[in-house]
Amino acid sequence: MAILNSKIPEGQLSEKWINYKDKQDLVNPANKRKLDIIVVGTGLAGAAAAASFGELGFNVKALCYQDSARRAHSIAAQGGINAAKNYPNDGDSIYRLFYDTVKGGDYRSREANVYRLAEVSNQIIDQCVAQGVPFARDYGGLLDNRSFGGALVSRTFYARGQTGQQLLLGAYSALGRQVQKGTVKMYPRTELMDIVVIDGRARGVVVRNLVTGEIESHFGHAVVLGTGGYGNVFFLSTNAMGSNGSAAWKAYKKGAFFGNPSFVQIHPTCIPVHGEFQSKLTLMSESLRNDGRIWVPKHKADAEKIRAEQLRPEDLSEENRDYYLERRYPAFGNLVPRDVASRAAKERCDAGFGVETGKAVYLDFKHAIERLGRDTIEARYGNLFQMYEKITDQNPYETPMMIYPAIHYTMGGLWVDYELQTTIPGLFAAGEANFSDHGANRLGASALMQGLADGYFVLPYTIQNYLADQINVPRISTDNKAFKDAEQSIKAQLKKLMDIKGKQSVDSLHKKLGLAMWDYVGMARNAEGLKKGIAKIKEIREEFWKDVRIPGNTDTINLELEKANRLADFLEMGELMARDALNREESCGGHYREEFKTPEGEALRNDKNFMYVAAWEHKEKGDPKLHKEPLVYENIEVKQRNYK
C-alpha cells in the first residue's frame, strides 16, 4: 500500500492547509522564469492555473482542442458555485460546506482535500468579483444566493443561468492578460496525443495541430492536466461533443493511477431523449429544483392516457399527482442530491408511471408561478425556459417541463495526492480530471468551486513544492529520444487508424459503445450485467479496430480522425469503468449495485470492506492492478446518508 502516499499534512483538519503552506518549498522569482509548465485544457481549472502560473512568473504553454480557450465546457455550467460565505446568515460555515460535501459524496472522498476546498471557496468568490464577474445581486447591491441539492443553507452564488460562462470568461480574461504579457503562450485547436516521461518524471507532451495535422513536441518541467471528465464514453451525455477522456487515459497508460473510474454522475434534470439521431443531451439546471416540483401521475392509468396524448398534464388534478421526492424525502424534498433524485425518477418510470415515451417525469412550475408571479420566475430562469422551448417546442410557463436523468459528470479521474500530483512525479491533475473531492457523488454547484479552487488557490502553491528542486534541470530538447519515440508511435497509430478503411463511421461505433455502457454500466449495475458489459465492450473495440472508416488525410482538419482517436481511448476506458464497478460490491452515491440496497431501495454502503479509493494501475500485459487508499474519517461521523 505504501505505493499510494496521499501526503496529507500533519495537524488538525482546519490547520493542515495552513501548515502545508507554511512549510512547503517555494521557487524564487528569478528562478520561475527558468521553469516551463504545460497546461492541457483551458476550462476553469486549466485557465485559472495557467493564468496564476503566468502571474507568478513561470513560463506557461496552454493548449486546448477548441478554437479558443473561452469555449472549454466549463462554459456550459448553468446553476452556480458554492462558497461558505454565510452571507444569508443561515448557519453556513467552512465546516458545514465540508460536511455536506463529504456526506453528499457518500463518504468516499478524502477529508483533507475536501476541507481545503471548503476553506478556499470564499476566496474564489472574492477573486471572481474582482475580475468583473457579474454575479446576481439584490437591491441592496450585495451578492445574492440560491439553494442547491444536498444542502440546508443557501450558499450558491450565480450569474443568471450562465454561471459557468461568467466564471470561465473571468479566468479566460486573466489568461488573456498573461498571453498579452508573454508569460503564457496559447495553442488553440491543439490536441494532446501523449505525455512524455523521462527518468520517471513528466517532462512534456506530444500534440497534434488540428489544423495542419502536424505532430509537435513541447518540453515542460511539469505538466498539468485540466482536461475534464470522460462522460462521453456513454456517447449521449450533457458534455460537449468534443469532451473526451484521452488526456487522462494517456496519463494512465504512462503510469498514472486512475481513481474510482466507475463513479459517474447521472443528472436528474435533463431534457429526455427524443430520437435515434440525437447527438447530445441538454441539462436543465438543478437550480430549477428551487422552485419546480417533480411529479408523475399517481395512477398508472393516467400515465398511460398522458402517453397516448388523451390527457394533458396540466389537467390532472392535484390529488392524482405523486410528488414522489417530497413524499419519500420530506426533509430535503425536491432538493435531494442528484444521485437520489435520478434513481427515484428511474424507479417511477420503470414501475410504469413515466410520461411521454415512458422515460420522462414532470418538473412543474405552476405553484411557483402562482406564488411568485411569472415575472419572478422569468427573471430567475428565463434563459433556461427559453432553451427548453427552443428544443422541445413546448412552453414551460404553461405546461410542465419533462425531464429524465442523463450522464453529466465523472467523479472518478486520475488519482492525485494532497498536492494534486498523480503517481507520475511532475504530472498534476485538476478539476474534473482528478478524482479527489466529490467521492461517489458530487453536489450541485461544486464542480465550478473545485475547478477554480484547484486552479487559482491550490496548484499555484503545490506545484512550487515540486518545482523547487527542479530549478537546475535544464530544458530538455524535443529532439530527445523520448520525444521522438512518442512522435513516431503516434504517427504509427494514426496511420493504423487511417488504413483500416472499414465500413462503419466513428459515430455509429461510438453509439454502440454508449448503449452498452448505459445498459450495463449505467444507473443500475449488477455483477452479471457488468461481466456482460465487459465482454460487449471488448467486442465493440475489436470491431472498431477492424471496421472503422475514416475518410480524408492526416495532414489537414479531419474531424473523423479526431473522433476516432478519442473513441479508441473510450473503448478501453469503458472496460476499466466496468471492472471498477464490478469490484465495488456495495452501492454508494452514483454507483448503484442492485445487489446492495436497503429495504427501501436506497444505496447500501459496505464501509467495512469498501471505504477506500480504488486506484487502478495500468499493466502492459494482463489485467490492471488495484491499489487501495483507505479513507479515514476523523472529523466527521460516518452515517447512512439520510435525506428524509
Binding site: 493564468a51 480557450a69 488573456g176 461533443m241
Partner: protein, 254 residues
C-alpha cells in the same frame, strides 16, 4: 412528441473549401426524411454519415457544446447568421423551422477578420487577440478584498450581465456589411465599465481594444443595427454607444 411527424426532404447547398488557400465552391446534397424535432446540427450529422457511407469527405463545421453557450457553432444559413430563428445559435436551431422540399444554403462566416480554414470552419483567433489587448481587469490571483466590500447597484450588475452574455461566436461580424466587431468589443467594454472593479481602467481598455480591432482588419460601425438583430444573446447596440463614450473620454484624456 409521440405523434409521428412527417420527415422533411431537403436539398442542401453547402460551401466546400479544402483549405485556407484552396478555392471554394457550393455543392448540393439531398437529405431525406429529417425529423422536424432534430436540431440543425443533427441534420448535418445525418448528412455527414451519408457522405462517409458513400466514401466521401464529410462537411467540416465547428460545434461543441450544442446548447448555445460555447459560441463555437457558426453557420450562415439561408442568408442569416445562425439561421431563421431569433435569439439562438445554430446548434439550438431546430428543423421544424424549415419546410419539406426546401433548399437550404449553408455558408461559413464571411469576413476579412475570420478567414475560412476548411469548409464551414473559420479562424476567429482575432477575437481572442482583441480581448487580450484589454478585455480584463488588471488584478492577479489572491490578495483581494471581500466580495461584498463594494455594493453594486442591482441595475448596473444586471446590465453588466446583459453585456457579459456575449458568447464570442462572431455572428455580429458576419452580419455587419462592414464586418465590424463593434458589438463584440462594446459588450466587453460595457460590462467592465459598468462595474466598479472594471471602471478603474475603462478608458485605457476602450482605447486598446478598439486599436486592436482596427489593426486586425475589422470595419467601422455605421449604426445599421444589423448585429443586434442577429446576436444569439440579444446584446443591445446601446453598448456600442457606451463604448463610443468611453472611447471619446479616453481620446480627450490623451
Amino acid at each position: 412528441m409521440s405523434e409521428s411527424k412527417k420527415g422533411l426532404n431537403l436539398t442542401l447547398k453547402v460551401w466546400r473549401q479544402d483549405s485556407a488557400k484552396a478555392k471554394g465552391r457550393f455543392e448540393s446534397y439531398d437529405v431525406p426524411n429529417i425529423s422536424p424535432d432534430s436540431s440543425f446540427l443533427e441534420m448535418m450529422d445525418v448528412l455527414n454519415e451519408q457522405l462517409i457511407n458513400k466514401g466521401k469527405a464529410p462537411v467540416a463545421f465547428d460545434h461543441d457544446c450544442r446548447e448555445g453557450i460555447c459560441g463555437m457553432c457558426s453557420l450562415y444559413i439561408n442568408g442569416r447568421a445562425h439561421g431563421p430563428d431569433d435569439d439562438i445559435t445554430t446548434c439550438q436551431l431546430h428543423m421544424r423551422k424549415f419546410e419539406d422540399g426546401e433548399t437550404i444554403t449553408i455558408e461559413p462566416w464571411r469576413s476579412n477578420g475570420f478567414p475560412v480554414i476548411k469548409d464551414l470552419i473559420v479562424d476567429r483567433t482575432a477575437f481572442d487577440q482583441i480581448l487580450e489587448a484589454g478585455g480584463f481587469v488588471s488584478i492577479s490571483t489572491g490578495g483581494i478584498p471581500d466580495a461584498n466590500a463594494i455594493p453594486i447597484p442591482k441595475e448596473d450588475a444586471d446590465e453588466a450581465m446583459d453585456a457579459a452574455s456575449c458568447i464570442g461566436c462572431g455572428a455580429c461580424v458576419a452580419t455587419c456589411k462592414n464586418s465590424s466587431a463593434m458589438l463584440f468589443v462594446s459588450a466587453k467594454v460595457s460590462q467592465l465599465a459598468l462595474l466598479p472593479q472594471g471602471k478603474v481602467e475603462a478608458s485605457r481598455r476602450a482605447r486598446a481594444m478598439v486599436a486592436k480591432m482596427d489593426e486586425l482588419g475589422f470595419g467601422n460601425c455605421t449604426n445599421t443595427g444589423a448585429c443586434e438583430v442577429e446576436c444569439p444573446k440579444g446584446i443591445s447596440v446601446s453598448h456600442i454607444a457606451r463604448l463610443n463614450r468611453e472611447f471619446l473620454c479616453a481620446s480627450l484624456k490623451q
